[in-house]
Amino acid sequence: MSAIELRGLTKVYPGGVRALDALDLVIPDGEFFALLGPSGCGKTTLLRTIAGLETATSGSVVLGERDVTNIQPGARDLAMVFQDYALFPHMDVTDNIAYPLRIKKVAKAARGDKAREVGERLGLAQLMDRRPGQLSGGQQQRVALARVMATQARAFLFDEPLSNLDARLRLEARTFLKRLQRELGVTTVFVTHDQAEALAMADRMAVMEAGHIRQVGTPAEVFQRPINTFVASFIGSTPMNLLDAVVRGDSLEVSGCKVAVPESAAGLLTDGEKIVYGVRPEYMSYSAGPAEGALGGKVSIVENLGASHLVTLEVGTASVQAVVPEGREPVPGDDGYALPRADRALAYRDGDLVAAGRGGTEAGA
């Protein structure tokens, strides 16, 4: 078990595409770490570079005390679960789990015992003689996990671990993975394009865009204080409201409404300045009557989210969304007022967060 450290890691593909651009990142020992970003942002390239399946153009990958940048993947003491699990179709579950031990020349009997022990722990005892083709998606995933557990690797790498499962199973597997990682205590890095997955599972996460790490932090930090408008719009199951605003003295003018300056930006804005005002729909309190500092407009859309509703208000030329608890939802055409929580609202200048002590760590330039 060991920490993973990236120093100025750069990957340029032949043809000049910079998939990774001078990344610096430290993942402490035992952490469950998520690499999150839209497709094509370089997160999978980063994982594959850590694994050694891609060679870094410059910079280094350090595992514990050891610089592994130029070491073959097999000699890095890492184990990886692939997106399609990559279980060998011609081997049964036992042989699949025991395969890493076979490479390490462990005797047949000993590796069979180890495979059964790990398999039993993951509830595969009844399936040890089956072929991967005879297993469900969830079972295949557990075989893939058992196989990396059998390796005694210093760190685990998971590529989109949940994307091959159907929606219901995915939630179950999410809880299962988080519990397993906690029990094993092995440094684990996983890649996902699903922000809900990253928020739910990770101890800390990095949000990536176009080969850069935009923000590193705990899920709470990244959710509450996105460092720029890209992260703000990418994180959260309902996108953050990002509204053009003008500073007017000690308040802001947003689409003709007067709202309070976000607490985090207090004293940092100059009068008359144009900024972007950000507030999550979850951090708005909705009322049917006018309120001081609220955004008022006509309700255009009401979306049912189950225990709550997502209400879209037309405020001047802008659309503002607010989450409203069940039983209090308006109907389209009503007048509505959404009051942002000043301690959760944010101000962005040129796309970057305006705040004194900024949440999380800023990374990249």
Partner: protein, 274 residues
């Protein structure tokens, strides 16, 4: 059904029956003639004699030639499968400029330059290398002739196996040769079987190369060449021996097809994509 369609149907099936008869008569002849004491070119009810088989057993080269065919066929198939598998794997996984061009050029050249055109240089080469009158020489030359097509077909198989299997094995520390043995070969086994069967069938029926390179010694000649020598003293085709030997010659290939097709269940039309 309108009368017109009924007539059409009848016409269609009559045509099929005629085509079928056309192809089945030679096969029927091959099945009955060896058991007939004095076979002609007609298909007739045999009198179930085994005298022809006795005669073939007494022929000095007949059984030996089947053994020679077996050695050539199996030897060539082994070499073709081994070399084609390694080459196809490398060509499928390594990106080199002009890779597809190379493959097509190999394929094209190997089909343009047939045995007849290359006969003289091949003979010269074999003499220079002391490979004349040896099984090894014939095996090597036949292997060379079959490899381009075999590589081409196998590369297609290799291309369809996901890379993640190999990458997974690689992260666990497997060496390239271990990856080929543990992962790639088992995955493309139907492809390897196709190539092996195809190579054996090719060599089994090849006349020119062994005829050319075993010029002096009938001891070494395979069945395809020996069958050509089965004449009576009068210079007429010896139908007793020809039919009997023909039957013995074709049975192994038919058995092999049945066995492999049962084991791997692959279809034989083109046989590339499953």
């Amino acid at each position: 059904m309108s009368p017109r369609r009924v007539l059409g149907r009848i016409g269609f099936y009559t045509l099929i029956a005629v085509v079928l008869a056309f192809f089945s008569v030679p096969l029927l002849w091959l099945a009955t003639a060896p058991f007939t004491s004095d076979p002609t070119y007609e298909v007739s009810l045999p009198d179930f004699t085994l005298a022809n088989f006795r005669a073939i057993l007494e022929h000095p080269y007949a059984l030996g030639s089947l053994y020679n065919s077996l050695i050539l066929a199996v030897g060539t198939a082994l070499l073709v499968v081994l070399f084609a598998a390694l080459a196809a794997y490398a060509l499928s996984r390594v990106r080199i400029p002009g890779r597809d061009g190379l493959l097509y050029a190999l394929l094209l050249l190997s089909s343009i330059i047939t045995g007849t055109a290359a006969m003289v240089p091949i003979y010269q080469l074999a003499v220079e290398l002391n490979l004349i009158d040896t099984h090894l020489g014939v095996i090597l030359i036949l292997t060379g002739g079959l490899l381009p097509a075999a590589i081409f077909m196998l590369k297609d198989f290799m291309d369809t196996t996901p890379k993640s299997y190999e990458e997974s094995a690689r992260v666990f520390g497997a060496s390239p040769l271990q990856i080929v043995r543990h992962v790639v070969v088992p995955l493309v086994r139907p492809g390897l079987a196709t190539i092996a069967v195809w190579a054996i069938a090719n060599v089994w029926g090849n006349f020119l190369m062994p005829y050319l390179l075993f010029s002096s010694d009938p001891e070494n000649q395979p069945a395809a060449v020996i069958i050509y020598t089965l004449y009576t003293e009068g210079g007429q085709a010896n139908l007793q021996l020809l039919s009997t030997f023909g039957l013995l010659y074709s049975v192994p290939v038919v058995l092999m097809y049945l066995f492999v097709s049962k084991k791997y269940g692959f279809r034989f039309h083109g046989g590339i994509k499953r």
